[in-house]
Amino acid sequence: MLVIPGKMGTLCDGTTRREFLRVGGAALFGMNLPQLFALQAHTLSTAAAKGIKKGFGQAKSVILLFLQGGPSHLDIWDPKPDAPSNIRGEFKPIKTKVPGVLLSETMPMLAEQLDKCILIRSMSYTPEGLFNHTAAIYQMLTGYPPDKVSPSGQLEPPSPRDFPTAGSQISKLKPPDVSMLPFVEMPRPLQESNVIGKGGAAGFLGKAYDPYRLYQDPNKPIKIDDLALRSDVGEGRLKGRFELLKGINSSMKDLEKAVSSTAVDEYYAKAYDLVLSGKARSAFDLEQEPAAVRERYGRTTFGQGALLARRLVEAGTRLVQLNWPAVANGNPEVDAFDTHAANFGPLKNLHCPILDRTLSALLEDLDQRGLLNETLVVAVGEFGRSPRLGVSTSGNSNAPDGRDHWPYCYTALIAGGGIKRGEVYGKSDDTASAPKEDPVHPTDLLATAYYALGIDPAMEILNDLNQPRPLVKGEPLVTLFG
């Protein structure tokens, strides 16, 4: 179902890509999956070696802090102290480590780490029709707008026809070099109302590429039964079983050969290694972290989730997606970012202290360990919030102290994996309503992440109808790379 890595024939930009290879089901090609992976590794490294592309393939992993709900950019990343009061809100700006760049007073710890990242203050898109969370999430994570949206802006449940979520694409196109889970999602599924998991699954790639779903609170002891050796099967017994299995398989040599194209033995070897080496299990074991580190990240679901994310990428996971724990449910007392009502109190007392502590800890920790250079960190929501208080932009009702959905202008934080440090990219206008310079579409952000991992965002894949489609219809922000 994929084409690596370029497009067919002459491109509109006038270049011709020679490393053209179309694979309609690897078997058709007489190529098994491991061979396919090797070939990809080869073609990708050639692309990087050509040196045309700054930062291409520098990131080994991605940590996505997905701030679902749509955090208010004005009250967190992009303060507008000179705007009228019904826009600027209640918070004051503070200075940061980067001269001339202000953050909201809600983010004092991040202010000290801002020299490690870039703020993109010109995230922007115009949705078609009514927009709600799920459509926005789907677009952001798959790179494609959903094809079916109900008049109220709701989507159909996840379907095998869906475009694959980014982590699934990455699992397929760039599987880990070591025996490790390629894609982990926690601590809850993507959700809006009753639509659960839309935009968070492998879609037409097949469930084999779905995320490893750790829907648990990492601030509590984590249970990972399938990765832990069963108590009734010790290490010695499992080894004995595998020896026996090898003997049984090898008495049918012809069958071994006939099934080799399915890579069944490779998957078994990886699974065996995963269970026996204890690497994944150990990565999930936060008890191994010093108490000070755990405190630094914050003893919250989000904080410990981010710490776990660091441990997972250290062990080889390609993409860790940490969804903001609280889901929008209209209750202002919960720390969900969907602040249609009571925007300020909860932000100041609930959300931001957690976000501030965790995000700053993650940047600091990754940098101290030398991991930041090979780990791309992205923190972003599916949209921002309306600059004007108490207006309705999405068809939802809003309290006078609430802000509604606002996709036209918002902020993303991006760091590591070759991204420059201590800069701001793009500019919003005086009320943070629209980009003033360098607008960035969420699909451009996604393309940038693929690019950082060494995956050509323009490569063609075949969708469920076998139509060729670019991996994502966005342009990577190459200028962000140092």
Partner: protein, 814 residues
Amino acid sequence: MKRLVLPAFCGLFVLSTFSAAGTGPSKAKLEVFPQGIVMSDPREVRRVLISLQQADGSKLDLTGASKLTTTSDVVRIDESGVIHPVKDGVAVIEAAANGMTARFEVTVRGLSEKHPVGFVKDVVPILGKAGCNSGPCHGGAKGKNGFKLSLRGYDPAFDYGALIQDLSGRRFNRADPAQSLLLLKPTMGVAHGGGLRFPVSSRYYNTLVQWIREGVKLDDEKTGAVTGIKLFPSDILMNKSGLSQQMLVLARYPDGSERDVTLESTYVSSTPAVAEVSDSGLVHSLRKGESTIQVRYQGQVVSVPVTALPDKAGFQWTQLPQHNYVDRLVDEKLKRLWIVPSRLCSDAEFMRRVSLDLTGLLPRPQDVRAFLADPEPSGIRRSKLIDRLLASPEYVDHWTLKWGDLLQCNRRFLGEKGLWTYRSWIRKSIAENKPYDQFVREIVEADGSTFGNPAANFFRATREPKVMMETVSQVFLGVRMMCANCHDHPFEPWTQRSYYEMTAFFGGVALKEGAQSDEEVVYEKRQGYEIRHPKYGYEVTAKFPFGNPAQLDTHGERRKQFAQWLTSKDNPYFANAIANRIWSYFFGRGIIDPVDDLRPSNPSSNPALLAALAEDLKRANFDLKHLMRRIANSRVYQAAYTTNEWNEDDGTNFSHQRPRRLAAEQLLDAVALATGTALNFEGVPKGYQAQQLPDSKIAVGGFLDLFGRPPRESSCECERRGDISLGQALNLINGGVIADAIADPDGRVAKLVLSGAGDQKIVEDLYLATLSRMPDSGEVRLSVDYLKGGNNRAERAQDLLWALLNSHAFLFNR
């Protein structure tokens, strides 16, 4: 792609020497094709194919290695061997290659007559060849930089409007054509994001200059539109890899004239690893195998099969027994490709395979013992087994599951009661072996309450006319119409218009609430059923698809007429689609694959075989069991997976069986049978097998979903996944399903150990229960040694069962 010319040349050299020695110089003869060329349009050019007739009857293409010369001034021959008309007269041209020559004549007449440039005939092909109307450029859904053309020129009227009316005609400067944007852009006279497409004063350039000078005229559809294209040669056979063949494409016009459009056509190879094709139609074979070259020009599509034989010598055809016509037709193909088929599989392997394919379940150990001990000849035993399985209740379960997938038995669409009602109807239809055409007619014609008339649930699951049509088309015709919802299919003959014409048959189908809770009623609307073309807004009248001439009786019920047409024996798609689909369930791939994507550009690996199966099915009045019996009895189905040196690379011609991972339900049911445990699902009685579940809303997110159970959100065969993943391997070696089943206190191991069975008995029983065969002596030794290797006998036996359940021989249907 130009680099292909060189190896072509090298390859030729070797073979032509051989050829000359074999036939002697007196017999060797150059052939020129086509003969009798007449040219009259000054913009026209012609090419010829030069080939050498070889001793074995095959032809060797020498086009690239030949030289054309003429002393005549009637034509001019350029450096690439292309013939241009110069003045009226007859030219004699000499072709020289490989030390031989041949002569042919070209007539030029009427050159001085008027030959105005036509938009459809002359300009659109240029826009195509230069890439202007391609998807990434101006042919994309939103065009590029304010200029949009139809994708690959499928809508010339739209393109004409786009060129003439947009920018208030600024694209043309009629006083000074060279200053037109249409020419400045592609020649980079002004900045152009798409770069240089053709140079100033090239043939394309001159044609466009003349078109602008003549007043940018739209030609008459009657003279400008191509009526067909012809391809030469029509079948390409390469004796070895590394050879090349130039293709020639002629377009025919309504006035009977022809034009050489080799350069302007688009070429796609279905298997580029076997045969590559250049932009100019040069086919180059890379290794043995088959490919299809699809050639497109102005909406016309024609395909040519390419076969490259293996390079090695020593091929000898061994005729294996042929059980029925299936074997004969497969053998014919294999012989041609130098593929030697595999021999029959063992009786035990056959029993396991045919049980899984017909009933979804492993054979029970006692049945395996009885089958293997039966003294009757193997062939007779196998046929009897097939009949027994076809008549079994498990057959009904298995095919209810398959049809439940395709017809979207899913409580999300149907509600709980609707689900069970629909499923019962499917079950009953399968149990009584209802003729397939009748089964389909009952669905497509269904009206009334979804409780009273269960088949009406089809419309409850599909709901909207477009989805109804798409589903009917994909499931019963094997044709995916979805793409044509938004645009003409770029490579296929079906258009956006035919999408809506077909949808119009379902335009009146509507649903309303019934009297009972959760009941819906399907009915035909009396008004408001018109289907409109989304782009042009006119009302589309229902019309049978695929160029079928059958006329609609406007007074009759449209849906009934559609059902009659659909299920008629005269509709080749209907029988082909189901024959191909059924075939795929016995081999893991269709003769055309994917099975629900039949289209000219998806080549059939054996057209004669598919035609024969479809014919057989029609003669049997769509008795699906009859077709399954025929397939299961064939030697081709009963072949081993073990390959030989001549068929180990074959993946498409059914020269051997290919192991398939057990489907999700098969795997879970096989685990239950092998371990002697009963499954226990919520919402259904205990002991219900996985394949008996009514839909995919039971045990969601568990083992079955991990192994690719289709969620039944669409009717695509692709929803069921057969691939292998890390998560699956983890689950099998360390997950709860296997671990609990092997250690079950009421399970097979516990009972065996408690009964005091000896080592040999344990090993034999476990082999029979998992791999459906007896272990050989080496296997017995290995396992017995393992059992003896520890103190806890039950644990050692569990380990053996674990290893067998994780073995290739268990996980695969082989």
